[in-house]
Symmetry: C2
Subunit: 231 residues, 2 copies
Amino acid sequence: MSVQFAPSPAPLHAAARAVPFAKAAHDPAARSSELRASGPVQSFSADEEIFSEGDDAAVFFRVVTGVVRTCKFMNDGRRQVEAFHVAGDLVGFEPGEEYGFTAEAVSDCTLVPYRRHGVDALLTIDEALTRQLFAHAMHSLSRAQAHSLLLGRRSAIEKVSAFLTEWAERSPDGRMAKLAMTRQDIADYLGLTIETVSRTLSQLERDGAIELVALREIRLKSPAALHNLNA
Amino acid sequence: MSVQFAPSPAPLHAAARAVPFAKAAHDPAARSSELRASGPVQSFSADEEIFSEGDDAAVFFRVVTGVVRTCKFMNDGRRQVEAFHVAGDLVGFEPGEEYGFTAEAVSDCTLVPYRRHGVDALLTIDEALTRQLFAHAMHSLSRAQAHSLLLGRRSAIEKVSAFLTEWAERSPDGRMAKLAMTRQDIADYLGLTIETVSRTLSQLERDGAIELVALREIRLKSPAALHNLNA
DNA sequence: CGATTGCTTGATACCTCTCAACCCAGGTGG
DNA sequence: CCACCTGGGTTGAGAGGTATCAAGCAATCG
């Protein structure tokens, strides 16, 4: 058998969720007692900063509730949202001594902090945890690469369609995208402006592909049509 | 002491090179005897395919000589080059059972293949190798995220400047970018068209920022000016 | 209520793409 | 040696997609 880091081709955000990081703490055989929360669950209000690019990356987090965005800023204010993170996702697990991006709360949310220096020792002795962290890193990488194709080679309508498809896949029926983030967040995730996102959503609705049930609730009336745009 | 995966903020392509993968095979203490080349060095001619997206990812490679590109294709032919890989870089180390992208030779090149299934066992027993692979994954991730900012939020001139800066940093004097790839490769890496790349290079030359010594040799006359575009 | 925030819509500008012609170097064959 | 061809690159003109600037709408909140 070859290395099986994780279930494999998963939707963008399902990737990290496929790595139930909390599991290590529940599995006595994993001997993970040494990696424990560095403190109690922390709460953040919407738009509150969790950590900032350049801060000392002494801890990383696991999202418990709510949605977190990780992003990079240019010094003229332009922003690129790298990813949205939901319950179970890891945030801030970094290669260097400093965070490489900023993390902010999209909605009110809670996170568990972990000490990073605990990981060093565990890489030696905790096989299960090592595999999980490895899987986390590799899947984040796959997701980032898929995002590059999106950003580099897709039109606005393709970007928005891909985004809606990605979020609708998380709903029970796979057709209702319930968005936690603003249009500005979406725009910065897709490399567009807020106006273009808005216009594209309107156009998709006029075309009968989606229905704007509420500002942040979008029903996919024709998932196949949207998916075709994700060629 | 916290986890120190690798030297830290390095230029895009230096990241993977900072992980001298071959070292594991040279260090007896690392007990890496189980991860060995799955065969002799393989040679590829320019533009030859090394592996294709969707192929069974039984082996991964380390670049010995030459330059390799990894890319994704859309079914209408649009291409996104994810990264260029030079000597020492790993290519094709994947989370799933299949390659997530295609690898092709930019120039004539040689690569050493490794069996991926050997890694599984090593994650348990070989600490040094585990750290190296970890560092590889994390740095690839950082690089991919930086690339997202480039693709999503930068103009053509900023993209080209960043690209030139990145390659010039590898030269002895840090001012001469010797490119192995065609304008088309550059365009697909930056999410532009070949014409826009060409026009932008011409404009930078007219502005006195660079000098087109030869088609694939570009001298940075004003690295600072270029770097300022990389805000 | 008025103010604020998030969103939508419109008019216009601009950047990049598309399509096309041309250039140039290198190779091939007469 | 030269004519020709080919692949990679450059340049130009025009089209088109997205950004910018601006106005207005709806929901929320004090």
